[in-house]
Each structure stands twice: as structure tokens, then as C-alpha cells.
């Protein structure tokens, strides 16, 4: 248990369906770790358990050396895990800046201070020009970026990204990839779920492959993406 995040034998069933079965892995501090797998593989469910949005049926999750399973989502955010939602969840009636200010309030005492943090992050994510727009008026790619911005504003040690590149044009994907690389260079550990292989190969130092809730492969991109089972589960889904 030397990792920043260690997941041990985690299970989650929805009625009869084993959404996540006996998944274990470790994320080392400073790395970018990707979770891939076909639709319905259990990736989001796994995220929800790490972030405290769902309770695992069994298994343990440690973050920074301490158990976090059973904690509420807000307690886990306070411990230093930030997350985005695959189906974006902005605060729709509030401005882009207010959305990010709320994230920043986790570690700031005043609105002015939070606003400073928010503006820096909006700058970083190319959202500065839109900071006074109502979040509900953003396009999907911008909403995805807002998800990242709001999570970053909480100053996480570990950032969970759930398909933030889905639906983006290749140039936009490249831009986000560059931003994430920058963030990682400044010490942020990232755990990302991604279908866009172009982004995964560009970012991840290690990959975990899920299928039907179970781990079918784990390792560096070079080894994992050469494995038969992985190629088969992805056949026709994405170009590698």
C-alpha cells in the first residue's frame, strides 16, 4: 500500500448484475493512470466508489495511506480527491466563474480569495472569456472543461476524470491533453477513464482494462494494448 490510491478487491452489484467484481489496483503519486474498457464495463461505477458517491459491497479503498471507503463524497473531496462527472453536472443557473469559485471555497476562507483561484484555473482551461456566462448556456465541450475546472479548484491531490474528451474534436482533445500534462507536471496525480485512445496513449503511464466489471489487463500502454483480450474487447470500438 505504497500508492497514493489503492483499491483492494472492490465489488459492486446492481441487483443481479456484477458491475464491478474484485477489482484491485494502485495509483502511484505523480502518475497518470487510465481505466479503459467497453461501454458498461463498470468504469464509472468504480469511480463512484472511489469518490464516495456509491458504497462498495466489499473491498477496501485507501487514499494517502488512510481508508476512505464508507466516507461521504464531501469527506473524500476534503481529503483531496477531485472528480468530474461523465454526464456533466454544472451548477446550471450560476456563472462559469461562480461554478469554479464554489470549488475553490473548499480551501479558501473568502469569496475574493476563491475568485482569484477560480480566475487562474479558468485561464488555464481557456474559459476566461466565458467566465460571466451562465453555465447552462455552454456547449458540451465547454461544460466538460468546466467540470475539470471546478474539480481542479478544490486543489486535489488526485483528480478523477470520467470521459472528459468524449465528444470533443481532435484539436480540442489535444488541447486538453496538453493541459492535463501540464497539471501532471506540477505534481497532480490523475486517474482517467477514457474511450479516446489517442488521449490515453498520449497521457497514461499505466492502463487498467475492465470488461464486465473485471480486470482483464493491467500494465504500461505498450504491453496492455498489445494483449489479445484487450484488442478483442475493443475490436471495432476505437482505432488504436
Amino acid at each position: 500500500m505504497s500508492g497514493l490510491l489503492s483499491v483492494n478487491g472492490v465489488n459492486k452489484r446492481f441487483r443481479g448484475l456484477a458491475a464491478v467484481s474484485d477489482v484491485s489496483f494502485e495509483v502511484q503519486p505523480g502518475e497518470i493512470f487510465a481505466v479503459i474498457g467497453p461501454n458498461g464495463a463498470g468504469k464509472t461505477t468504480l469511480f463512484n466508489m472511489i469518490a464516495g458517491a456509491m458504497v462498495a459491497d466489499s473491498g477496501t479503498i485507501h487514499f494517502d495511506g488512510r481508508p476512505i471507503d464508507g466516507l461521504r463524497a464531501d469527506e473524500i473531496a476534503q481529503r483531496g480527491i477531485g472528480r468530474t462527472f461523465q454526464i456533466v453536472k454544472p451548477f446550471p443557473a450560476l456563472s462559469v466563474e461562480e461554478n469554479v469559485v464554489i470549488g475553490a471555497l473548499l480551501h479558501t476562507a473568502t469569496i475574493d480569495e476563491a475568485r482569484m483561484v477560480a480566475r487562474d484555473i479558468l485561464q488555464q482551461l481557456d474559459l476566461s472569456a466565458k467566465r460571466n456566462q451562465i453555465a447552462a448556456s455552454l456547449t458540451l465541450p465547454d461544460r466538460k472543461r468546466l467540470e475539470v475546472a471546478r474539480a481542479l479548484a478544490t486543489k486535489p491531490k488526485l483528480l478523477l476524470l470520467d470521459e472528459v474528451m468524449a465528444g470533443l474534436r481532435p484539436t480540442e482533445t489535444d488541447r486538453i491533453v496538453a493541459i492535463l500534462k501540464d497539471l501532471n507536471r506540477t505534481g497532480l496525480t490523475i486517474l482517467l477513464i477514457e474511450h479516446v485512445m489517442r488521449a490515453v496513449t498520449a497521457l497514461a503511464s499505466r492502463i487498467l482494462v475492465l470488461q464486465h466489471g473485471a480486470v482483464i489487463a493491467e500494465g504500461t500502454p505498450e504491453t496492455v494494448l498489445r494483449e489479445r483480450a484487450v484488442i478483442e474487447s475493443y475490436l471495432g470500438v476505437e482505432e488504436l
Binding site: 454544472p90 451548477f91 464554489i102 471555497l105 473548499l106 469569496i111
Partner: protein, 332 residues
């Protein structure tokens, strides 16, 4: 506070000052009847602010604020009648009692995942149960009512006993204080957290907000403030009946102003009260003078006004008005 004031555009400051002046000077010009209508305007502006904190800011619908109104009214009047404790001290006990009741309602609802409409039903149920309880509480006169002595010539502000002028200025101070409090809370970290929880509780949790706690604080403040309105009601009308003060129509009438004026806005509850109260009062007068006093007619009338305004201005009158007066927040 000064930062808030500075944010208002120049002509907005003049308008605010003018409005204040009008309200301060009104008793010098208007007659007693009109002044009593203005008392109600201020009273509903005040209660609207209290309710709006919970609904407009924290996003939780209470249809049972009569509970806190009634507890406030009964607590302070009973303390005065039985123990001679004046309303200026009794009000603090009233706040504590109502806030405690609010915490029980909030705890039962939000701890056990009672959300939305079901939460609203829970708030109604609590007000109703409490009404039934008070109907049988001998200490406060049960269903027969509680009465404070009326002396038309009294000028006793310490015991909140006096003419309409006294109550007018008390209501004015309450309305101004509640508006300042709402404005201050709105731009505080707590206010931002309320909005986050209102907009999306799950996303709010994901940025480290304790949704339950934040809602409980909203309830605490809202219920406490409403209790102060109840103390005012008790000493102003000087008679209390469980069937009136705890009635659902009390809960409904205090939420119409903020809805019509604009939920989650600072001036919405004031604008709503200014629009709605005089209309309601003229209707009452008209029905009485024309002999058309059909029970429930006022509720139906309010319902119609609500439907018309909500279909024309779904987010309320104030946001629309603010835009036309160019008073919307300048984006810095």
C-alpha cells in the same frame, strides 16, 4: 456590507435611498388604513426574505413555515402573559424554539433522504400536528385562543403595545434588516454553498460541501427569522388561534411574495410583497363592502395572480424589472 453597496450602480443607489425615504416618511402622509396595509407589505417582505433563504437559496421547499410563525408567536406571547417576560427578550426564546423545531423537521427529512415534494409534505404535516397539539394545550388557551390585553392609547414600545405607527416602524426595521442579512449571506461562502446545493446536490458534495449541514443552517436561520415574524404577529394582532396561525394558508401567503417577486433574489421578496399585499387587501375590502364574502375566494384569486405572473415572468418580476431599470449586477 460596504462592498455590497458599492456594487449597486449609481442610479440604483438613488432609487434605494428614495424607496427608503418613502417608507420612512409614509406615516406622515398616509392615513391609518393605508398605513396598516403598509405594515402588512413590510411584514410579508420580511417573512418572504426568511422563506427565500431556504427555498430560493438552499433550494428546499417548505410549505409549513406557519409552524415557525406560530411557535414564535405563542412562545413570546405566553412568556409575556404568564411570566411577564417582555417581547424583546421573549423573541430570543421564540427564535430558539422555532429553530429547534426547524432542526427536527430538517433532520427527519434530509437525514432520511426525504426530498422535493415529499419534504414539502413533511413540513405541512409538522405544522398540522403542531396545530392539533396547540388546539389542546390548556396553557395557551387551547382552541379557544390566546389574548393579549388591548389598550388603544398605549405607547409602550418595550412591551410592543401601541398604535399602528409603532408596528409600522418595527416592521420596517425588520424588513430592512432581513434584506441586508439576505444580501450579505448571498455573497458569503455559505451563500455560494447554498446555491451549489440548490443547483445540484451531488455536484456540490463532490466539491466537498456537506449538503446536510448546509441545508440545516438554512433551516435554522429561516425558521428563526420566521419566528421573529410570529412574535410581531402575536403582539400586533393581540389574539392567537391555533387554527389561524398554524393554518396552511399562513404558510402559503408568505411564500407567494418571493415566488412572484423572484426566487433566490434579494429584492424579489420585497417587490412581491409590494405587488401582492395591496391587491389582496383591496380584494378583502371589496368583498366585504359588496357582500360577496365567499370563503376561499382570496386563495383562488392569489392562485390566479400567481399563474398569470409565473406564465409571463417565470423567474419573477424582479429580474425583469432589474433588467429594465438597468440594475442587474454589473459583471466585473
Amino acid at each position: 456590507m460596504t462592498a455590497l453597496w458599492n456594487e449597486i450602480p449609481r442610479h440604483g443607489k438613488w432609487l434605494t435611498a428614495l424607496l427608503l425615504l418613502v417608507f420612512i416618511a409614509a406615516p406622515l402622509v398616509v392615513d391609518r388604513y393605508l398605513l396598516s396595509v403598509l405594515v402588512l407589505v413590510l411584514y410579508f417582505a420580511y417573512l418572504g426574505q426568511a422563506w427565500n433563504l431556504l427555498m430560493g437559496f438552499a433550494g428546499q421547499l417548505s410549505l409549513g413555515h406557519a409552524l415557525y410563525l406560530g411557535l414564535g408567536a405563542y412562545t413570546a406571547t405566553t412568556l409575556w402573559l404568564l411570566f411577564g417576560i417582555g417581547p424583546w427578550i421573549g423573541v430570543f426564546v421564540a427564535i430558539a424554539v422555532a429553530a429547534a423545531a426547524g432542526l427536527i423537521v430538517g433532520w427527519l427529512g434530509w437525514r432520511f433522504g426525504v426530498e422535493g415534494v415529499y419534504f414539502a409534505l413533511l413540513t405541512i404535516a409538522f405544522a398540522e400536528f403542531t396545530r392539533i397539539g396547540f388546539d389542546h394545550l390548556g396553557l395557551t388557551g387551547a382552541s379557544g385562543g390566546l389574548f393579549l390585553p388591548v389598550s388603544p392609547t398605549a405607547h409602550d414600545w418595550w412591551n410592543l403595545n401601541g398604535g399602528v405607527h409603532l408596528f409600522y416602524y418595527v416592521a420596517l426595521i425588520l424588513a430592512i434588516a432581513a434584506t441586508l442579512l439576505a444580501a450579505w449571506l448571498r455573497q458569503s461562502p455559505l451563500g455560494y454553498r447554498w446555491l451549489a446545493v440548490r443547483e445540484d446536490p451531488e455536484a456540490a458534495q463532490a466539491v466537498g460541501i456537506n449538503v446536510f449541514r448546509v441545508r440545516m443552517i438554512a433551516m435554522l436561520i429561516s425558521a428563526g427569522m420566521t419566528a421573529v415574524g410570529g412574535v410581531f404577529y402575536g403582539f400586533y394582532y393581540r389574539n392567537l388561534f391555533p387554527s389561524q396561525i398554524f393554518d396552511i394558508s399562513r404558510s402559503i401567503e408568505l411564500i407567494l411574495g418571493p415566488i412572484i417577486g423572484g426566487l433566490g433574489t434579494i429584492f424579489g421578496p420585497i417587490v412581491g410583497a409590494i405587488i401582492l399585499t395591496p391587491v389582496g387587501e383591496s380584494l378583502t375590502t371589496f368583498m366585504q363592502s359588496s357582500g360577496l364574502n365567499v370563503p376561499g375566494a382570496k386563495s383562488i384569486f392569489y392562485g390566479i395572480i400567481l399563474m398569470i405572473i409565473i406564465s409571463l415572468r417565470p423567474s419573477g418580476v424582479w429580474p425583469w424589472l432589474a433588467k429594465h431599470l438597468r440594475l442587474d449586477r454589473p459583471k466585473s
